[in-house]
């Protein structure tokens, strides 16, 4: 939800000035324009390169073409990598949801001290850099009884730890925004079992939160490279690893790949943000 709030919103316009004199844009506008330019420039350039038939000696591309995209979307290796990325992200998210949702509910209702522990725990994935933890994971799971390195399973489990902070925080916040305990009690007194009370009353009210958590985590996981490369690499080539392996190929081709990936992530994030806007207003007034 904080994500949606951090998006810049246009300020309401003041009384239109009628003096007709040229005014310098305010410092606010200048800073905003600068930041936007800085962020957009690499993307615009990449997009230009992906659409250009040739862009070498001249300042502007020599011709526009969709050939690179068409070639990319017809490459079986790309489609397979895309599928693997989807599979792993969806698997990690399903696992996260199944494990974290019950924990979040219990931490917000019956065992408040759990919330404290979870808040510490969810800092861990940020505290330990991926390179460090992936080396540790390699040592643990390269051999021995649980030989997971090189299989998709280790990625799913690792991605669970990455998704944990996003998931837990979002779910805990949407649970805290309503009085879970009292709603559960009210439902039970009306004849619902705790299980039905949860599915009929609690879940529909945190649905928006669950969706935001899923979309945000998903867009993050699809773009993950370090763990994917270190733990699995080419044995189960995901999108980012594929991109890395193709860096020697045509720049136009990889640009098309990057733009495709960016668009997918953008659409997912936008879907998540849209859900945030639909969050019902709180009942407390």
């Amino acid at each position: 939800m904080a994500h949606a709030d951090s998006l810049p919103r246009p300020l309401p316009l003041a009384e239109p000035r009628r003096r007709g004199r040229f005014r310098l844009p305010s410092s606010y506008t200048l800073v905003l324009a600068g930041v936007l330019l800085l962020l957009a420039l690499p993307l615009v350039a990449t997009l230009g390169y992906a659409l250009a038939s040739r862009w070498g000696a001249t300042l502007l591309p020599e011709g526009l073409t969709l050939a690179w995209f068409l070639e990319l979307w017809a490459t079986p290796r790309f489609l397979a990598a895309f599928g693997r990325s989807l599979l792993i992200s969806v698997g990690a998210l399903a696992l996260s949801l199944a494990l974290i949702l019950p924990v979040a509910v219990l931490a917000q209702t019956r065992y408040p001290h759990l919330d404290h522990w979870m808040n510490t725990l969810i800092l861990m994935p940020f505290a330990v850099p991926p390179v460090v933890s992936s080396v540790g994971l390699l040592q643990l799971y390269a051999g021995g009884p649980l030989s997971l390195v090189g299989t998709p399973w280790i990625l799913i489990l690792t991605y669970f730890t990455i998704a944990l902070p996003f998931m837990y925080r979002t779910l805990a916040n949407s649970l805290r925004a309503m009085n879970v305990v009292e709603l559960m009690e009210a439902a039970q007194l009306l004849g619902a079992s705790p299980f039905r009370a949860f599915f009929l009353v609690i879940l529909p009210n945190i649905r928006a939160g669950v969706q935001i958590a899923i979309f945000l985590s998903f867009s993050f996981l699809v773009g993950e490279f370090v763990f994917a490369n270190m733990l699995v690499g080419t044995r189960f080539e995901t999108l980012q690893v594929y991109l890395n392996n193709m860096r020697g190929a045509s720049g136009h081709f990889t640009s098309a790949l990057v733009i495709t990936l960016f668009t997918v992530t953008l659409v997912l994030t936008w879907l998540g943000a849209r859900q945030a806007d639909y969050t019902p207003k709180e009942a407390s007034r």
Binding site: E185, L189, R196
Partner: protein, 369 residues
Amino acid sequence: MSHAAPNSALTSAPGSAPASPATGGENALHLSGLAKCFDTTPVFQEIEADIAHGEFITLLGPSGCGKSTLLRAIAGLTLLDQGRIRVGGDDITYLPPQRRGVGMVFQHYALFPNMTVAGNVAFGLRMQRVEAGERARRVEEVVRLVELTDQAHKFPQQLSGGQRQRVALARALVVEPRVLLMDEPLSALDARIRRHLRDQIREIQRSLGLTTLFVTHDQEEALLISDRVFLMHQGRILQQASAETLYSRPVDKAAAGFMGHYNLLEAPQAEPLLGYRSGAARVALRPEALYLSVEGRTLGGDPPPHMGPARPGVVRRQRLLGNIVRYEIEVDSLSLSVDTLNRSVRTQLAEGTRVAVQADLDEVQELCA
């Protein structure tokens, strides 16, 4: 739901008299020996009560006296340490909340935000798997009862506080609970809506003949709405009595302290006012059972037949409480509260006025503790 409440409860004619108190009945509530501790601190103990079918009982007490926890224990939301709860002949002590046949209205409504008014009200019937046509009919009926027919399609967050609490009431009523529990249902509302809803709750309760337990810390609310009031203090029920008895005949110091603005005097202090030495340790005098006279004229009409001796006193303070003027009178180095009806500004006594104070001996409360 396995309870045997008659299906006709909602359709019975308004005004059909509930069973008279203390006769029991099918939805009579019996509490025996209830006790609850949090860690080692007792929340309530030795709770004994018999509530007749259709009786409206208020649990009155200061915050922290255990009244809300007691209510939650009856609902099954808090586990008891000891004791038995019976409704009619059935022991519900160990049943989970969803199988007790007990309805509850919460202070902060606890409406389901994802459902409309009609959806909220229908929830309990859905849980009972009442068939759709029957469900719609009963929802419509009870929504009409709480005067929310026009709002039935709205969501709770579109309603005012008073409307929300009426939805909560309808939601609890529609499943025809054997006992209705209300946990300070009016506390979150403003004064005017509170008065209106209070009367509406009482009217509906009476017309349905619903055994009701209502928790409040508001003395006026308790006195106005109840058949009987249970006065709770530090986890015990001090007194179970009608409003009149509770107000005019408090059993002990704590009860007198919570009701009205009693003057509590030690027996020796009270002797000059009474004209005799009370056998009890303490005496309680209501401020309106003391009479003031100035130059031989008694304020506030004819004096009662049995008056104590007149004692000289001085008005130390006077406060206007609307229709009542409350004087603080210094008599024999005691400070007494005396209430008189505010008939006219002319009869108000200025601070420093010399008066005579007399007690109505018929209204003297002797307290053993």
